[in-house]
């Protein structure tokens, strides 16, 4: 059976390399679903929720990712991001606390500062969302 190979890399390590039957990516312009045989693609990613269905079976898995980009070619999905946290590794309470803290900072920030903070707030929010998936 043709499957997809998902490789998730952060600057600190290769986090994942798994066979899966489909991958969901948070594209900058909207969510994307990648199935085997997808055309070659390069896209930027917004902070959000990456999901995949392991080929080995079992439940669908979720990973919170920071902004980055992805490359799809030859049924291999390579995702590069600054941080990534699989759902099972996230502590929901501390994720929520971090989100609230950043959101408060965002509200206090000036308009120019907000631009720089936006991605961090969204990343924290993604982590909270993903933690709720387990």
């Amino acid at each position: 059976m043709a499957g997809l190979n998902l490789i998730l890399v952060t600057h600190a390590r290769k986090l994942l390399e798994v066979e899966c039957s489909d991958v969901g990516l948070p594209g900058r312009k909207g969510d994307m679903g990648i199935l085997p045989g997808h055309t070659a693609l390069i896209s930027t990613l917004r902070p959000g929720e990456l999901s995949y269905q392991p080929a080995a079976g079992g439940a669908r898995r979720f990973v919170a990712v920071a902004p980055g980009f992805c490359e799809v070619a030859d049924d291999t999905v390579t995702v590069l991001t600054e941080t990534a946290a699989p759902a099972e590794n996230i502590d929901a309470a501390s994720a929520r606390a971090e989100r609230d803290e950043l959101a408060a900072e965002y509200d206090r920030a000036s308009f120019e500062e907000q631009a720089g903070l936006k991605d961090r707030v969204d990343t924290a929010q993604a982590r909270v969302d993903v933690a709720g998936r387990v």
């Binding site: 600190a12 290769k14 312009k29 994307m32 070659a40 693609l41 390069i42 930027t44 980055g68 590069l80």
Partner: protein, 300 residues
């Protein structure tokens, strides 16, 4: 000639120093291993980042005008000397690592003297910060205690500041001087341009377009927009890599320096012990002669 007690005290003190240098060597070895692992761990990211950036730069060549990218047609060198230069000098936070810090500082001063439009230094690490502040060199700023907790966030913050200053036209180029980690026994002082990003840097040595880069990709959003998103990440990653290299090189240099210090202390102890034994024997001989000649005098 030193008395026996003095010699014994001296030997004890050298032994203590030797123990300290031996411990420092072992600590540096452990830290070096961790720093090396950290460098290796960034490899997959580096490869993929370079691949995609090269590809995009090749595809979008000519159409892309990004402030961080050098203008096309080798314009990068033409601009040299046209304005001020920012130099990132990466030193360690601590000494006791041989000529590690001194080499970087000397190279930085040499290069600074050759810059046409003048330059400013951003000193990273306590050692460089102290050195250049003391010398009264033109400083943009200093960062202390950088290596105590080296993280990607540090690099992000630095990259943001440097890129902004560069885009605002404060500097016409940004360079980095640092110790590159070659092996445990050798570090090389490297002078490297960070900004503007050279087109050859992102298009690869064979001019990009070779091999699989010819694949027809779908781009979302456009090539240029992706590239604009990518270039700042590229800069951040370069700075992160420079910091990691320097960190590994520092531990390696300290390890070597402490190893030879331990060896030197060993030699010193041997020499002192020899001297100690000799003077002890000389003292015994003198006492014997005194006793014998005293007895002779009584008999006579």
């Amino acid at each position: 000639m030193a008395s026996l007690i003095d010699l014994r005290r001296r030997i004890r003190s050298v032994k203590n120093t030797q123990q300290i240098t031996k411990a420092m060597k072992m600590v540096a070895a452990a830290k070096l291993r961790r720093a090396q692992d950290q460098i290796l761990a960034t490899r997959p990211y580096a490869l993929e980042l370079r691949k995609v950036t090269e590809h995009l730069a090749a595809v979008a060549a000519g159409e892309v005008e990004h402030p961080l990218l050098s203008p096309p047609e080798g314009g990068g060198d033409e601009r040299a000397g046209a304005g001020r230069t920012l130099v990132l000098v990466v030193t360690g936070d601590k000494g006791l690592c041989g000529a590690f810090n001194a080499h970087v500082q000397r190279r930085a001063e040499q290069e600074m003297a050759q810059l046409n439009g003048g330059g400013e230094i951003l000193a990273l690490g306590n050692r460089g910060a102290d050195f250049f502040t003391h010398r009264g060199a033109p400083l943009r700023g200093v960062r202390r205690g950088l290596f105590r907790e080296l993280s990607y966030a540090t690099a992000q913050e630095l990259a943001a500041e440097v890129s902004k200053a560069f885009s605002d036209g404060e500097y016409h180029a940004v360079y980095a001087v640092y110790n590159e980690f070659i092996s445990v026994l050798s570090q090389r002082v490297t002078w490297e341009r960070l900004l503007p990003i050279a087109r050859e840097d992102v298009t690869g040595p064979e001019g990009g377009g070779a091999g699989e880069s010819h694949r027809d990709y779908l781009y979302e959003p456009s090539e240029a927009e992706i590239l604009n998103d990518l270039l700042p990440r590229f800069v951040t990653f370069q700075i992160y890599r420079v910091l990691l290299e320097s960190q590994a090189a520092e531990h390696a240099a300290r390890m070597t320096a402490m190893d030879s210090a331990t060896k030197n202390a060993g030699e010193l102890i041997d020499a002192l012990t020899l001297q100690y034994n000799r003077s002890r024997q000389a003292e015994i001989t003198t006492e014997l002669i005194e006793v014998v000649s005293g007895a002779n005098a009584l008999e006579g």
